[in-house]
Amino acid sequence: MIPVSYYLVLSAIVFLTGLVGVLVRRNIIVILLSVELMLNATNINFVAFSHYFNNVAGQVFVFFTLTVAAAEVAVGLAIIIALYRSKSSINVDEFQLLKW
């Protein structure tokens, strides 16, 4: 029996990797990939807890998270395409019309 903390540490590492990824990558697609990392980390948590509580609620949550992630990706990629059309770039740090 693997202790829950193992999963938690794993998910924490993945989560923070994703988080750092959002902060350091300029390519908006990779940023979205990093967000996926964060969501996956969350999912690992839920599933692990669900397993250890021996209750299905966590798994259900993951199911919904997956759904939301899919939806986010759809919208996000649509925005990216639209942006690329108008600015020919998907580097986030080049979107600076709005500032100050």
């Binding site: 029996m1 693997i2 202790p3 829950v4 903390s5 193992y6 938690l8 540490v9 924490a12 590492i13 993945v14 923070l16 990797t17 994703g18 750092v20 990824g21 902060l23 350091v24 990558r25 300029r26 390519n27 697609i29 990779v30 979205l32 990939l33 990093s34 996926e36 990392l37 996956n40 999912n43 690992i44 692990a48 807890f49 397993h51 250890y52 509580f53 021996n54 209750n55 299905v56 966590g58 798994q59 259900v60 993951v62 199911f63 919904f64 997956l66 759904t67 939301v68 899919a70 939806a71 990706v73 759809a74 919208v75 990629l77 649509a78 990216i80 395409i81 639209a82 998907i90 986030v92």
Partner: protein
């Protein structure tokens, strides 16, 4: 045995997730994410969440990532030459946060909480979840459907070339 599995999956997951962030080429990032998804699915199997493992592969690997790759290809994105200027600060913060989070989450022994729902481990994980989704979680399920609706139409609206086309 279970430890071995865990260590394998965990190792690959960590490694691939770092690669996702570290690799300069978005395509490679996406591909390492794909590997990571598979291993997460494997982890789910070890945790007796077979349904989720399947969904993980079908939805994430099968749909989401393909979408990503599609867009990457579509936009013909070049190699990302450099990280964002704030990368060192972000990395430092990430490390600090990591230390703190790991400290916090590992300090605590997690006990089994009283379960009000069907046990997850029993045979037929998929049926259980399905039943719960259509009874207890009916309402969120409906909301999720709306979210998908929004995503669908929203994506169309945002991505289509000319608004007045349809």
């Amino acid at each position: 045995m279970s430890h071995l599995f865990f260590l394998y999956f965990a190792g690959v997951i960590v490694a691939t997730s770092i690669l996702v962030v570290a690799l300069r080429n978005p395509v490679y990032s996406a591909l390492s994410l794909l590997i990571m998804f598979f291993h997460v699915a494997g982890l789910y199997v070890t945790l007796h969440a077979e349904f989720l493992a399947a969904v993980q592969i079908i939805v994430y690997a099968g749909a989401i990532l393909v979408l990503y790759l599609f867009v990457v290809m579509l936009l013909n994105v070049k190699r990302d030459e450099r990280y964002h200027v704030q990368a060192p600060a972000a990395a430092f913060l990430g490390l600090v946060l990591l230390t703190e989070v790991v400290l916090l989450v590992s300090q605590r022994a997690y006990q089994t909480a009283p379960a009000g729902l069907p046990a997850a481990d029993q045979a037929g994980n998929t049926e259980t979840i399905g039943e719960v989704l259509y009874s207890t979680y009916l309402f969120p399920f409906e909301v999720a459907s709306l979210i998908l609706l929004v995503a669908m139409i929203g994506a169309i609206i945002l991505a289509k070339k000319n608004i007045d086309e349809c």
